[in-house]
Subunit: 354 residues, 2 copies
Amino acid sequence: MDLLKTTIGQIVAQDSGFRDKARTRLEQLTMPYWALGRLMDLAVDLAGMTRSMNPKVERRAVVTMAADHGVAAEGVSRYPQEVTLQMVHNFVNGGAGINALARVANARVVVVDMGVAGDLSELSQAGRIITKRVGSGTQNMICGPAMTREQAVRCLEAGIEVAFDLGAGTDIFGTGDMGIGNTTSASAVVAAITAKSVETVTGRGTGIENGQLHHKVEMIEKSLAVNKPDPDDGLDVLSKVGGFEIGGIAGLVLGAAAMRRPVILDGFPATAGALIARCLAPLSADYMIAAHKSVECGHQAMLAHLGKTPLLDLDLRLGEGTGAALAMTLVEAAARILTEVATFDEAAVSKAKG
Amino acid sequence: MDLLKTTIGQIVAQDSGFRDKARTRLEQLTMPYWALGRLMDLAVDLAGMTRSMNPKVERRAVVTMAADHGVAAEGVSRYPQEVTLQMVHNFVNGGAGINALARVANARVVVVDMGVAGDLSELSQAGRIITKRVGSGTQNMICGPAMTREQAVRCLEAGIEVAFDLGAGTDIFGTGDMGIGNTTSASAVVAAITAKSVETVTGRGTGIENGQLHHKVEMIEKSLAVNKPDPDDGLDVLSKVGGFEIGGIAGLVLGAAAMRRPVILDGFPATAGALIARCLAPLSADYMIAAHKSVECGHQAMLAHLGKTPLLDLDLRLGEGTGAALAMTLVEAAARILTEVATFDEAAVSKAKG
């Protein structure tokens, strides 16, 4: 609990002085006023986060956290639970979507076992994954809490540790998730925190049909009725209807925010982690960048709650950190606009009339 | 005229066999069905364009074409005409928005003087720009045609030549523009081709206020009334209300399509060039990728006419090829999804149930 408390205590708002300084420079660049639109907004954010007019975003890591979910036993996914384990191997072997997109972004993929139901000890011993197992999958949240409050703290502190350990060599973080059943958990988290109806924040996840979707909504409603998570207590929400990887991602976000580094949110389960982080430390939202708007219908409610407008809208619904990886080059673009584009005076270009 | 005719004759549709083959592979990747959404649509397009399951997009060039516009004398821009010339120097010195964003995309910036009103001979002799001057700015289109039909052909053939010359070392092209007054010309082009009212396709360009916008609309209406461009004749539209850089971009698109290489459309003036290209060779649209949706209100009408959905929507309104550069990494992502992600069988991951 100490690490969590200390970390939350270190999180402060973006620096308004650097925001102003960045805005002033951006207004003088050789282009019509704010002609690079949202990239310029992002450049202001980067300056405010990093307290620098030369925000570093070169060393990039997408942290993909994997865990299993007890609620998968209720038949809420199109895929069997073993896929979580199999996909961890796929990540390590470089064959997954996130591997391809991280190469585009020139980012490392760091895979964390937060609690996969299966044996990953070989990959762990070989140093190919980080092991922070909090359990072998969560409990089934329709019967009671997904995890204990102590386990929730361990998830969060594990995520913080990962952020701090990577911090020496990482300027910018991306969040990623893998866990069969985790959109069910993410829907429960967003319903609990925003008080939206379960139906409006529950989507098809891996691609379930109408009947299964109806069942999924019922299971989520049951989990909320059984557990009654307290929307003002992030630890309560996480422990009752969350997941180990969602807690790990929440911790990663807190750790990044404490280090004043930007952290890019990915899709629906990853953004559920960001919701937990914001619940525990509202100012952590100052360090979040929303990569994209997921196909998953509850994602927009999450982003609205966080006050974030996504950079991309490409009908993605994969997770793993793929959207975060795609957005990393846009963040690089924003940083370069701030640092590499000449002002009217520097380039001797005539200014606007009148 | 021979080069134009031959080039148009070489443009054929995307290959449906390679599209099908790509779709089949993408459906087997280790992810829920089509979970990378529009990037997977784009991967199908790339296979269809390049006739390859391994579409190459490594060698990238943003071609930024600059020219001046006689209509600038009517006070349609916030900036003086000399800015076109000054910005060419800025491009060559690496200080403009396009330079910063091309670095993100790992793309070359190739600057072409299509007819800037000013002396660029030093840069030309030093080999720092390509010179294809068709004139020293167009004529004022509110008094008559912006250029002769012969000049329109020269613009187009110049663009084709640039595409072919770069072709040996370029897998993918981005289009860019620079020219004070060119959103006025682009609005006239889209109004002429789509028969939309001038008011609905005319925006603030570099950021003019309401009064100046009203005047701009009047000038465009006058140019159309005076010239009566034939919407079915791309050469007629280009010569009467186009611009040298818009024609050059149209030629570049035709050249890229003839070589079966993808070409990324940028903002409003660059997409006006694409409209001319499609008018001359409808199948050239098969090789176009729409980078982004510009703030400029007529851009959406252009993209709808071309049947394109933009990849990005970031409130950009700079031009120069900046949006095209940003989209290049998304195109790389699409290619890597097709070639680098493992199938369920390859990675031994369990498939969906039922």
